[in-house]
């Protein structure tokens, strides 16, 4: 039995890689993941990847930040320690706007970015699980789970026909650092 875990199609050109995806899909070969050195537009639709929901997270965090700051300012300046400035209103809403705005932005940015890190399993020092070291440099890599798939030679041929410069049969899931 073959010890290959993943078959990698390595492409030099993003257009050829997209062509490779089409070919694999036409032949009902499920794709495990695609690794690229830059974002490729239009690939999500091809791979049936749902839209990111980070926008909702950003909105929720923004609302939370704004509410917390406004409540804090209200508590401090209206309830806990009102300051009489020339007999003006304690609840001076226009004066509360700048800091409320700043915290809305701050919470939106931090909340959404940390959600992104959490969802994508990114954190300082995490072992990078890279399948091919050149995928962050100049190669475009399609990874196919070898287990239970059609004969490996067929996949290799499909990838080569699509323009893959190299097809690798990896018997380890990740090549780097582990």
């Amino acid at each position: 039995m073959s010890s290959t875990k993943y078959i990698l199609g390595v492409f030099d050109d993003p257009d050829e890689m997209m062509h490779g995806i089409d070919k694999l899909q036409k032949n009902s070969v499920p794709i495990y993941d695609v690794y690229t050195p830059m974002p490729i537009h239009g690939i999500e639709a091809k791979l049936n990847i749902k839209d990111s929901r980070l926008g909702y997270a950003a909105f929720m965090f923004g609302c939370l930040g704004g509410t917390i700051m406004f409540s804090m300012v209200y508590y401090m300046l209206v309830h806990d320690w009102p300051i009489n400035i020339g007999g003006k209103n304690f609840f001076a809403i226009p004066d509360f706007i700048p800091v409320t705005f700043e915290w809305t932005v701050l919470w939106t940015s931090f909340g959404m970015t940390f959600t992104f890190f959490f969802a994508s399993h990114l954190f300082p020092g995490r072992t990078p699980r890279v399948m091919d070291l050149r995928a962050t440099d100049d190669k475009f890599v399609i990874a196919i789970n070898a287990k239970g798939n059609i004969p490996h030679e067929d996949i290799t041929n499909l990838l080569k026909e699509a323009g893959a410069t190299e097809v690798k049969h990896n018997d380890r899931k990740y090549v780097s650092y582990e």
Partner: protein
């Protein structure tokens, strides 16, 4: 990315022939992966000397107190707040290039956003040191935060623009840092996967485990876009709030409703000038002429010209409103600026900020690299004078002539300012040594659509009308690294 081709008559964003994805990485990472050259060492030595001067002068200030500065009872804010506003202003171009130009889909930002964002971070750090230092007792800076303290529930005054400033600057710094670092992750991963030994370990920690999978890229782009969306109003709010530090007072010369837009335009003006100052040197020293092209330089010069004109209109508006207000104190403040003891500062400001940027109307000047560099420094000097004029000339003569005074900087004032420039350049030079100064992933995105070779391919394949091709070839003269004869053969 490769799904569209850009119009042939648009200038290429990447010049040079036979550029590949791999070559972009090699070109950008050359200063990171190799020992620095002589130019870097000379720059770094000078900058570190400046930084040491800053450490000495700021330690002197903390040890002996603010009496070591030239401040007096009349001019209580001088070079400190001038330096603060100047640095915050310089910090604005980074977010503007990253965020606003991203929202407007201006692809030319891709080559310059990384350095500009780094510049933002370092400039805001310099600004923040001024704020902490000018308090006199910087260990008390913690009281600007709403923390329960030993005086009981004595909170900060949320009605005060000074506290808005604390929140605006700290938010701006934090958000810029997050924006910058998140954008760096794919490029740090590139360095990691090419490095060996200890460097690989360090960059591995810094890369957060980035792999470049499709889903991560999709989320990354969403995050970038939303961060750009929230940073854009943030840029406007920060300098608006800085201007309110002045505008909400009753000081003649400060109490002006034009301050918010005028400060924002001035900030963008000085920020772009500093980006220009840095990048014109960096592209040459780091060999990035193919990525930071004449088109980039010219575009930035156009923005400098636009914002310089807005600033010029703001100066004239101030004068007109002072005249129209019929307020004698206001009128005197402006007459004093123009012809008082600090006339030289006012006229330096006018010359540097209003007159010189107008030279960029001439194409020959805005596409001339040495002249652009000199003019960018002139703008930086002019913007420093602008802040000096606003602060010192307004304060030194206000309502009561008996309290009028002059401000003379001491050697500590001068050293703190020159030293802060040293700190800034030290940080920038270290940055270009350890992190990519051009956003590789974003530049790679342009290779198939907006590069010189992509356009040449279109021409060679006959997709372009002859008239358009001719126009394109003629326009190539502008790009310093493009040889026209190559095209005439085609």
């Amino acid at each position: 990315m490769a799904s569209h081709s850009e119009s042939i008559i648009r200038e290429p964003l990447i010049t040079g022939k036979d550029i590949t994805y791999g070559q972009i990485t090699n070109d950008v990472l050359r200063p990171v992966e190799n020992m620095p050259g002589k130019a870097w060492w000379i720059g770094f030595s000078v900058a570190s000397l400046g930084a040491s001067l800053w450490v000495f002068a700021i330690s002197w200030t903390f040890w002996f107190g603010l009496g070591e500065w030239g401040l007096n009872k009349t001019v209580g804010w001088a070079w400190d707040i001038t330096g603060f506003v100047w640095w915050v202003g310089i910090g604005h171009a980074g977010t503007l290039i990253s965020a606003v130009l991203l929202l407007f889909r201006q692809n030319w930002r891709n080559s310059i956003n990384r350095s500009a964002e780094a510049m933002t971070i370092f400039a805001v750090i310099c600004a923040a040191t001024y704020i902490a230092a000018h308090m006199g007792r910087p260990w008390m800076a913690v009281y600007s935060l709403p923390l329960p303290n030993q005086y009981g529930s004595l909170w900060v005054n949320w009605n005060s623009p000074l506290i808005w400033d604390v929140f605006a600057i700290s938010t701006y710094f934090s958000v810029s840092l997050v924006f910058w670092y998140t954008g760096l992750l794919p490029d740090i991963a590139t360095i990691r996967d090419r490095a060996q030994g200890l460097r690989r370990r360090i960059y591995s920690v810094l890369s957060f485990g980035w792999t470049g999978s499709v889903k991560t890229w999709q989320r990354f782009e969403t995050v970038s876009l939303i961060l750009a969306g929230v940073s854009t109003p943030l840029v406007l709010s920060v300098h608006t709030i800085v201007s309110m530090d002045f505008a909400t007072s009753l000081e003649p010369g400060w109490h002006t409703t034009i301050f918010p837009p005028y400060f924002v335009a001035g900030a963008i003006f000085s920020g772009f000038a500093m980006v220009q100052t840095l990048l014109l040197i960096a592209r040459k020293v780091l060999g990035l002429e193919n990525y930071i092209t004449m088109f980039h330089i010219e575009s930035m010069n156009k923005i400098i010209m636009l914002t310089g004109s807005i600033v010029g209109v703001a100066y004239l508006t101030e004068l007109f409103i002072a005249f129209y207000s019929q307020n004698e104190y206001e009128q005197y403040a402006f007459a004093n600026r123009i012809a008082g003891p600090y006339w030289w500062a006012y006229w330096s400001m006018m010359t540097c900020n209003v007159i010189t940027p107008q030279l960029f109307w001439f194409k020959k000047i805005r596409t001339n690299i040495p002249l652009s560099w000199v003019l960018s420094i002139v703008v930086n000097i002019g913007m420093w004078f602008e802040r000096f004029v606003i602060i010192v000339t307004s304060l030194h003569r206000d309502f009561i002539p008996s309290s009028w005074a002059m401000f003379y900087p001491t050697w500590v004032d001068v050293s703190v300012f020159i030293g802060s420039i040293g700190v800034f350049f030290t940080m920038f030079l270290l940055f270009i040594r350890v992190l990519p100064s051009v956003a590789m992933a974003e530049v790679k995105l342009l290779l198939k659509s907006s590069s010189e070779q992509a356009k040449k391919k279109l021409m060679d394949e006959g997709h372009v009308e002859p008239a358009e091709a001719e126009f394109y070839i003629a326009s190539l003269e502008k790009f310093d690294s493009v040889n026209q004869s190559e095209y005439l053969k085609a």
